[in-house]
């Protein structure tokens, strides 16, 4: 009998949680509903959206009215950056501080603001562990940026920044602070009461909700200009009919992820450590990318010496295991990671990197099978290369 596939790419997209699926089915089975409609059918959708808003807000200790539902974390990042900069009346020459290890959905709008709108961007470097260079960070803040936009937990390496201190410093310097927490929420505790932040990006499908939903938390009083206009939805900050089913699923997934975090976090962490131990023993030489830094409990990014990551990814796929390597371009081929490059990892080691990301459905048996399969594939690739 063919063994079932093993999915170790939760940072790309987590499997849909059963709670989320049920909530979505309830919406889909409930009949037509535009949450803005006055009638009972509309009110049913409105109720589902508002319940989800409470659940999403609760996941980060925020208030429901501070949540803007979007289509994705990418849209949330665009809204946070462009919307706050616009609302602040930015002019050419005004500064935004960010880092060299951001997700493309932050890099993109920053590059557009820089090239097309003449804003200055300070891209703060990271050290070899992936943690922000604190001196460079302070130096950037001395230049009085309008906005600091920063990834909290990195999607590729899982490296978690010391956000409390960093955000405090940025607030003290007068910056609006945006945190991309798409990979963080549901994996580690997060509270807007502890972290002095103004804008927080959340993703639905990274924590087991459906794709097609995201959220931006906006601290009360923060000015924000809508990116999508032409409707009063989301308090005039994001026009467009709400994706009610996806939002309902997002809310339930948030609730489930937070409820399970205390149990799942240590369990997943132990599995991740077992995977690392097994691969380190049997596939030497291997390098742990992000070593020494605090990391998400579920992410393992390693470079296998003399192994092309793309080849290893394909070999594992043919063996029924889903992992990732680098970032996929439009055509579906892999480009070397800008994140690993920013950490000072040379191109060969960046091309040798593979990311394993675990989650709530990962089992011990899967980890053992993965260790065996990776060992076989790595040894074959090395023998053909030599």
């Amino acid at each position: 009998m063919k063994e079932p596939r093993i999915y170790l790419d939760y940072n790309a997209s987590a499997p849909l949680r059963i709670e989320a699926r049920r909530a979505m089915e309830a919406v889909l089975d409930g009949g037509p509903s535009n949450a803005s409609s006055v009638h009972g059918d509309g009110q049913r959708g409105r109720k589902a959206v508002e319940e989800a808003r409470e659940q999403v807000a609760a996941a980060i200790g925020g208030r429901p009215k501070e949540i803007i539902f979007t289509s994705s974390a990418t849209e949330s990042n665009n809204l946070a950056i462009v919307g706050s900069v616009w609302a602040a009346g930015a002019d050419a020459g005004d500064l935004i501080a960010s880092t060299t290890v951001e997700h493309p959905s932050v890099l993109g709008p920053l590059e557009w603001l820089e090239k097309d709108r003449g804003l200055a961007i300070a891209r703060i470097p990271v050290g070899p562990s992936g943690e922000l260079d604190r001196e460079a960070f302070s130096a950037a803040l001395c230049r009085r940026p309008l906005l600091l936009s920063m990834i909290g937990a990195n999607n590729e390496t899982g490296v978690v920044q010391d956000v409390i201190e960093l955000c405090q410093e940025a607030k003290a310097a007068g910056a609006i602070v945006h945190l991309d927490a798409a990979q963080w929420i549901g994996r580690l505790p997060f509270s807007v009461h502890k972290i002095p932040v103004d804008l927080v990006t959340l993703s639905s499908h990274k924590l087991g909700g459906p794709q097609g939903a995201g959220a931006l938390w906006v601290r009360g009083g923060t000015k924000l200009e809508a990116n999508i206009r032409g409707g009063h939805q989301e308090r005039n900050r994001r026009a467009g009919t709400e994706n009610v089913a996806a939002i309902a699923g997002f809310g339930e997934a948030c609730a489930a992820a937070c409820r399970e975090m205390a149990g799942q976090g240590p369990r997943i962490h132990a599995l991740r450590e077992r995977l690392w131990q097994g691969l380190r023993e049997r596939c030497s030489p291997v390098v742990l990318n992000g070593e020494g830094a605090k990391r998400l409990p579920n992410t393992l990014n390693i470079s296998f010496g003399q192994v092309d990551g793309e080849t290893l990814l394909i070999a594992l796929d043919l063996m029924g295991i889903s992992v990732s390597s680098g970032s996929a371009c439009t055509a579906g081929s892999l480009e070397p990671s800008h994140v690993l490059n920013a950490m000072g990892i040379d191109e060969d080691n960046a091309r040798a990197a593979v990311r394993f990301s675990l989650g709530y459905g990962t089992t011990s048996d899967e980890i053992e099978r993965t260790i065996t399969a990776v060992t076989e594939a790595v040894h074959r690739i090395r023998s053909e290369a030599g």
């Binding site: 080849t311 394909i314 043919l318 371009c329 055509a331 579906g332 081929s333 053909e384």
Partner: protein, 376 residues
């Protein structure tokens, strides 16, 4: 294909999205093999597909359309499919070589270089690393296994479609690791098979141009790739040194070219020499562009190195049927080729492929002529 009979092999198929490689994948799958499709991404055209004026650029490789065609075929067949990133090796080994060659007055053949360095080295290595028994491509060429276990490369059965010229320089050891399932077929037969297999690309037109050159405009490509290396116009001189006109930039010309020179003369003029040092183009009569021999470098052999004087048929470009010659391998990879009769337009940078009957012996990069009948 015969060699695979009775076995179930794992085969990686290099899929371009065209009808030939798609048919290869379909035929191998039908024969019971485990087929894995890989499209090589050689060149980043994602930003270039739409020119500034919004028009779609034609004839670019790894276009998203071609990748999605290959993906559709793989989906249709139900085989695993991947896009491999070969941009770095392609840039370094093929595009750079192409630009360098033109800048030094040569006329390169990038497909030859790509087969040697990218397809039958990097991609083959990936196929082996994936546990594949063979790499299969849609080339019209054949391999022949001799009794002593050695493998020979042969022309394809359809001489009009034969692509062995492009393969003459691939690593010898790759021959036992590759298969060319279309080698015994004609193009018409391949299209018929593609139709029978229901492949969504069965009626897709041929691509003839060099894959990374948009709109087949070499000059524009070179000028944008290395603006400082491709100078503008200069003098067209006769062999006697008389100024006959102006050229548009040396990268617009190749040896033996007779059209588009823009000079009025009673007899047709041929490009005889391209001299980047003085930025001049030298033209002459037909007899001035004939040569009795050539010397070539970086010889690669698919057989044991032949003895000096071994009789061969030498093809000096893809559409050349070949001329009778004798071959003189030298040290350091140099090889001299002495033609029985004078040959037109020996062109530096092109490949000379050497044949014994239908068997390919090897290839080398042409560096210059030997004994030009009149000027020598």
């Amino acid at each position: 294909m015969k060699r695979l009979e009775g076995k179930r092999c794992r085969v990686v198929v290099a899929m371009s999205g065209g009808v030939d490689s798609s048919t290869v994948a379909g035929l191998l799958l039908e024969a019971g093999h485990e087929v894995i499709g890989i499209t090589m991404k050689l060149y980043d055209n994602t930003d270039q597909e739409l020119a500034d004026d919004g028009r779609v650029l034609e004839g670019t490789c790894c276009s998203l359309d071609d990748v999605s065609d290959a993906r559709r075929v793989a989906d249709h067949l139900g085989i695993p499919f991947y896009v491999g990133n070969y941009e770095k090796v392609f840039m370094g080994a093929v595009v750079k070589d192409f630009v360098d060659a033109y800048a030094s007055g040569r006329t390169p053949n990038p497909c030859v270089r790509c087969n040697d360095v990218v397809k039958f080295r990097s991609l083959l290595a990936k196929a082996r690393a994936l546990g594949a028994d063979y790499l299969a491509t849609g080339h019209y060429a054949r391999t022949e296994y001799l009794e002593d276990g050695s493998v020979m490369l042969l022309e394809g059965r359809d001489v009009k479609k034969d692509q062995s010229y492009f393969l003459a320089g691939i690593p010898r050891k790759s021959l036992s690791q590759v298969i060319f399932p279309l080698g015994d077929m004609t193009k018409g037969e391949v299209r018929a098979e593609a139709t029978r297999l229901g492949l969504p690309v069965a009626s897709k037109p041929e691509s003839q141009d060099i894959c990374f050159i948009p709109n087949n405009d070499y000059a524009a490509f070179l000028e944008s790739a290395a603006p400082d290396r491709f100078r503008g116009g200069g003098d067209i001189l006769s062999l006697e040194g008389l100024r006959l006109g102006k050229h548009k930039g040396l990268h617009h010309y190749t040896i033996g070219q007779r059209k588009g020179l823009g000079i009025a003369a009673p007899e047709p003029s041929y490009v005889v020499e391209i001299d980047p040092g003085s930025n001049t183009l030298v033209v002459g009569d037909r007899k001035d562009v004939m040569a009795m021999g050539l010397f070539a470098l970086e010889a690669k052999w698919l057989v044991d190195v032949p003895d000096a004087g071994y009789p061969v048929r030498a093809r000096i470009r893809h559409n050349d049927v070949g001329s009778a010659a004798r071959v003189y391998p030298k040290d350091d990879g140099r090889v001299d080729v002495h033609f029985d009769e004078p040959v037109l337009a020996v062109t530096a940078g092109q490949q000379v492929a050497l044949y014994d009957g239908r068997r390919v012996l090897g290839a080398a990069t042409i560096e210059g002529t030997l004994w030009e009948p009149r000027r020598g």
